[in-house]
Structure formats: C-alpha cells, structure tokens
C-alpha cells in the first residue's frame, strides 16, 4: 500500500511537469495550429542559462526568473523571425521547421555549454516525510514542483479568461480573420502566445532539472511525453493537456515500478494509440473526425 502511494505520488509529480509542457504545446497549437517540437529544446537552453548563472554564484531564486524571461524572449523571437514565415503554408512545413529547431538548439547547447551531464541544484529538500508509520516519498522538491506548476498554470489561465490581452489572444486563436476585422493585431498575439509558452516551458524545464541531472538531450523524453499527453487530451483543450499529463505521469510511474522501466515508452505509445482509436481527436476534443 505504501509503495502504491509512493508510486502514485511520483507519477503525480511527473504528471505535473508533463501537464505543464502539454499546456505549452496546446497554447501554441491553439494560436498557430503548429506543434512546437522545439519546446523542450528551448526549455533546455534556458535551463542551461540558469545553470551557468547559478554556477557563477547567482542565487537560484534570481536565476529562475531570469531564465523565465529568457524563455519569454526566445519563444517570441522564434515565432516572429522563423515561424511567421511558415504559418500560412502547408502544415508539414511548420512541423519540419520546429523539428529542425529541436535538433539545432540541442546541438547548440552541446557546443556553447557542455555535452556532459551536470547536476542541477534543487531548491528544497530531497527527502520524503513520514505520517505515522508510512514514509511518503513526496519530497520538498516534489511539492515545490507541483505548487509552482499549479500556480503558473492558474496565472496563465487567469490571463486568458480575465484580461483584455487574453481575450484578444483567444480571438486571434479561434478566428484570425475575424480577429483582424476587430482591430486585433493578430501577429502580435501570436508572438505573445509563443512567448508565454516559452516562459512557462522555461519554468517547467528548470523544475524538472532540480535535483537531477541535465544534458543537452535531457528534455527529449519530457517533450515526447508532453506531446503524447497533449494529443491524448485533445490538442485544442487545456483541460485535456492537464489530464493527459497526469495520466501519462501516472502511467509512467506504474509501468516503471511494477513492470519494467524500458517498457515505459511503449506503454505510452499503446495508451496513445488506444485513445486515438476510440476518440481520434483526443479525450477532450470537440471536433469529430471527418468520415467520407
């Protein structure tokens, strides 16, 4: 029972990170209909920036906000300079561009920083706590992760629901032409969307690094799982992203602990295919697959 609880907690913590990234992917997908495969690489880049700063003596609590700002700028730049030119064409072009960025940014990290694994500091304790006789393997770091993701996600959602900027962004995402006719500068909204995703991703990248190791490709697994989570939940749905993330995190944890760590990815694939067979658009998708 205790093991089950702990495995579940691990899954939940993992799920929070996947959910965060899935949210980034959905955010970008809703705005520009593009899957940003480079999201993980961007986050890795900003994490390495943070690492360099911390290495040179800067406090963790200063490095993190700076990295988030860097993520914001990087995301916005990428949209404005690169993605803007492929937004109008065939879908496949944009997919390939983000894949190219994924490969390029990871390689750049290896060249600018280091190819080797480095330990990344954790801001809180790495020990669990006890309730009575049971040891709960939910470390201080884990709790920080979950809280940080939750707070950031809530802030993001509040931005969308309650502010004018958020309304403009939603309008631009749902109907570009109509939004233009309402005087909304759609281009700016798209850039903002990517910038916000970049910032959120930067936060998530640092959170997952804390207490573990980073290497240029450390975000690969996360991005792939986040993507699966987003697809699982339905690429249009924020709720779906969160649910998908948590489901995947739990799946990973259970498969890792009860079956074998090497089968985690295949389990994720099986889960994904299973869901898509039943609901081709994902769990929370509004649209129905077109049948001729």
């Amino acid at each position: 029972m205790q093991q089950f609880l702990n495995v579940s907690f691990t899954g939940f913590t993992l799920g929070a990170i996947y959910a965060a990234f899935a949210l980034c992917l959905v955010l970008i997908f809703r705005a520009t209909r593009i899957i940003n495969f480079a999201q993980g690489a961007q986050a890795a880049f900003t994490t390495y920036l943070a690492f360099e700063m911390i290495d040179r003596g800067l406090s963790y609590w200063l490095a993190v906000p700076l990295a988030i700002v860097a993520g914001f700028v990087l995301g916005g730049l990428i949209e404005r300079v690169i993605i803007r030119r492929v937004e109008k064409g065939p879908e496949i072009n944009a997919v390939i561009v983000t894949l190219g960025l994924f490969v390029a940014i990871e390689a750049l990290i290896g060249i600018l920083f280091s190819q080797n694994q480095q330990g990344f500091p954790a801001p809180f304790g790495l020990q669990g706590f006890t309730i009575g006789d049971t040891v709960i393997a939910l470390t201080g770091n884990d709790r920080f992760r979950i809280v940080a993701v939750a707070v950031a996600a809530i802030m993001l959602l509040a931005l969308f629901r309650f502010t004018h900027v958020g309304l403009r962004m939603r309008a631009a995402a749902f109907g570009q032409e109509v939004a233009q006719l309402l005087g909304i500068r759609v281009g700016r909204m798209l850039t903002l969307g990517w910038a916000l995703a970049g910032a959120f991703g930067a936060l998530a990248g640092i959170l997952i690094a804390g207490g573990g190791f980073i290497s240029p490709s450390y975000m690969q697994g996360v991005v792939i799982f986040a993507f699966v989570a987003a697809v699982l939940g339905g690429l249009d749905s924020f709720t779906g992203a969160v649910v998908g993330g948590l489901v995947l995190g739990l799946t990973q944890s259970y498969v890792q602990s009860y079956i074998d760590v090497n089968l985690v990815n295949i389990a994720a694939l099986a889960l994904l295919l299973g869901v898509l067979v039943i609901r081709p658009g994902g769990l929370f998708s509004a649209s129905v697959a077109r049948k001729v």
């Binding site: 390939i96 561009v97 190819q115 001729v292």
Partner: protein, 379 residues
C-alpha cells in the same frame, strides 16, 4: 511524369496529323513512354551498380574510409527513399522510421547470430518483419493526420529501443549484438577480384539500388497515382473509389520494408546493432534528408543520403581544425542539419531537387511560349 503540353492545341499550333488531330511538340503517347521509362531506370540502376564496383575497386586500397562511407550511404538510401515516398507522395509524416530500421537491423542481427541462413534469406526475413511492424503501425496511423500521426510515430521511435533493452537475452540489451557480415562468395570474387571489405559496400548498393528501382516502378504505377490522389484530396480520392485506409497502409508497409532493408545493411555495415544507434535523432536525420532532397523525389533521396553520409564527417573535421573539441565537433553536424532544415523550409520548401526541377520546367515553358508567340506573330 513531368509537365505535359496540352496547352498549345488551343491556339492551333503544332503539327497537323492525318485524321485532324494535332501532335504537339513534346507530347508523347502514354503507354510507350511508361515502358521505356521502366527500361531506362533498369539500365540506370545496373550501370550505377557497375559504377559502384569500379569505384570500390579504385578506392579500396588507398581510401578504405571512403569505401566505408559509400557503404553508409547504401544503408541510408533505402530508408530515405521509402520515407520520401511515404511523406512526399502519400502525404503521411513519420518520425519513427528510425525505429523501423531498428526492426530490420535487429532481425538481421538475431538471424545471423543464430542460424546459418543464406544472406538473401536473412534480408527477406528482415524486410518481412519490418513490413509487418509497418503494417501494424500503418493500420493505427491510417486514421491519424498531421500532428497526431507525428506524435504516434514519435512515440514509436522512442519506444522500440526500449523493447530491445527489455528483452536483453535476445537483443543484447544496452550493449547490443555484434554482427558478422557475410563474406563474398567465390563466384563473385572471380568476376571482380578480391574487394576485401568493399564487398559489403557493393552488396549494400545492390540492395539499395534494387529498392530504388522497385520504388520508381511503384511510384509510376497505379499505386503511386492512388497515393498522390489520397494525399492531395481525400474526399475526391474516395469518391473515385480508392480505399483510403488500404492505400495509406500500403504506403506505410512499403516504406517500412524499405527501412527494413536499410536497417539490415546498417547492421551489416557497422557490425553492431545497439539501441544507441536508433535514437530519435536518426529519425530526424532521415526527415532532414528527404526534405533537403525534395519530398517525393527518388533522385532527391540519393542526394539526401549523400548529404547524411558525407556532411557530418566533413563538418566535424572543419570543427576540429577550427579548434573545437571533440564533443563540440560532433554537435556541428546536427546543428547544421537543423539550421539547414529550417532554412530550406523558409526559402525552398521543395528541396534541392524540387526547386531545381521547377525552375528548369518553368524556364522551358517560358521559352516555348516565347517561341510560339513569335511564330504566331509571323504567321
């Protein structure tokens, strides 16, 4: 095959044939052209193979590394060719073809390790296994589009190596399996002389060129046309009676089989089959190759294979001489590939072959129009 010239008949130009119909310069009679194309390709393939043999003989004493590079190109080529057909002609994006190569490679490794089968049988069985996996994936994928398909194939790419590690007795776990490549038979050696390790290069190219030939016929056949129709307009295609699912699955199976050939050759050329050879980066490199060469172009696939083979070593040499350390130099190739991928999509989305071809035909058409205008002006 290319732009045809129905346009000129409207203004009455062109030769007047008995019976009142007009034959326009450049037009052809359908069936005859197709047959001569197939023959032309066969000749091309055979000549290319002979060329490879000669090249290997030339290089094998003084430049053995180049011979190995040629072998590398031979194992990339079938996978790239299959993928370019799948994505360029049938419109299905796959980020998991590295995994399909792995299937072929592992099948080959296991069979060569345990049985005494003739190599050709090993190849066929590897292709069969890869095709079967392709069938499963294809069936699942047939209902998925765009990002969903990308996601599923991505999950495949990262999932397959894990299976190899899980079944470690069979597949050698993290260390992988060592592969002893087939040695050249006596009858072959009597024709070409002793090629040493060049035999694998020649053998690899024989298989790679066979795959190219097979694909070129398929692409120009009814199946190729169906694939294009499905890619361009699903609704129209199914109204024409094409079974969308079957067409897509077929494309996947074919491309998987080709990737299987690639995997077989990879095992035999590198003499090692390990999970680390099949990371997501492999699948992305395959994608880079088809984009650079031009989606759907077999000629482009050859170009892409060449780039994938020769560019990384060239780049890391440049990097080392520029003072970067080993690991930085190793990263230069992915950096360049990634950036080039982005640049190509922004500037020349049709890839190198596609853009050149379009430019060539556009100029030709303009010249023809100018000539006709002149002719009409004079008449």
């Amino acid at each position: 095959m290319s732009l045809d010239s129905h346009d000129a008949t409207a203004d009455g130009s062109g030769e007047l044939l008995p019976g009142g119909s007009r034959r326009v310069a450049g037009a052809s009679s359908g069936g005859g052209l197709r047959q001569s194309n197939g023959l032309k390709h066969l000749l091309l393939v055979v000549l290319a193979w002979i060329g490879i043999i000669l090249l290997v003989k030339l290089l094998e004493t003084d430049y053995p590394f180049r011979v190995t590079q040629l072998a590398t190109m031979a194992y990339y080529l079938p996978a790239i060719a299959g993928l370019t057909v799948l994505t360029g002609i049938n419109g299905q994006i796959s980020l998991g073809h590295g995994a399909l190569m792995a299937v072929g490679a592992y099948t080959t490794s296991v069979l060569l390790d345990r049985q005494e089968l003739p190599f050709i049988v090993v190849v066929l069985l590897s292709v069969l296994t890869a095709s079967l996996v392709g069938l499963l994936v294809g069936i699942a994928a047939a209902r998925l589009h765009g990002p969903y398909l990308a996601g599923a194939t991505l999950a495949l790419a990262v999932g397959v190596p894990g299976i190899a590690i899980y079944y470690r007795e069979l597949f050698g776990g993290d260390q992988g399996l060592r592969v002893s490549p087939p040695s050249s038979p006596a009858w072959f050696e009597s024709l070409t002389g002793d090629l040493g390790r060049g035999y694998i290069t020649v053998l690899g190219w024989a298989l790679a060129l066979s795959v190219l030939f097979f694909l070129s016929n398929l692409v120009n056949s009814r199946y190729g046309r169906q694939w294009r129709a499905v890619r361009d307009d699903e609704v129209a295609a199914s109204l024409l009676g094409i079974n969308l699912g079957r067409s897509r699955v077929l494309a996947f199976v074919v491309s998987a089989g080709c990737a299987g050939v690639g995997g077989t050759l990879l095992a035999v050329v590198t003499r090692l089959t390990a999970p680390l050879s099949f990371t997501i980066v492999l699948s992305l490199f395959l994608l880079t190759a088809i984009v650079l060469g031009g989606l759907g172009s077999l000629l482009g696939a050859v170009l892409g294979a060449a780039l994938l083979t020769f560019l990384p070593t060239f780049l890391s040499n440049q990097a080392l001489s520029a003072g970067l350390d080993n690991s930085q130099a190793a990263n230069l190739a992915p950096l360049v590939f990634g950036l080039v991928l982005v640049a190509v999509m922004l500037v020349a989305p049709r890839g190198l072959v596609g853009t050149t071809r379009t430019a060539y035909y556009t100029r030709k058409a303009h010249k023809r129009q100018a000539a006709q205008a002149k002719h009409a002006g004079r008449a």
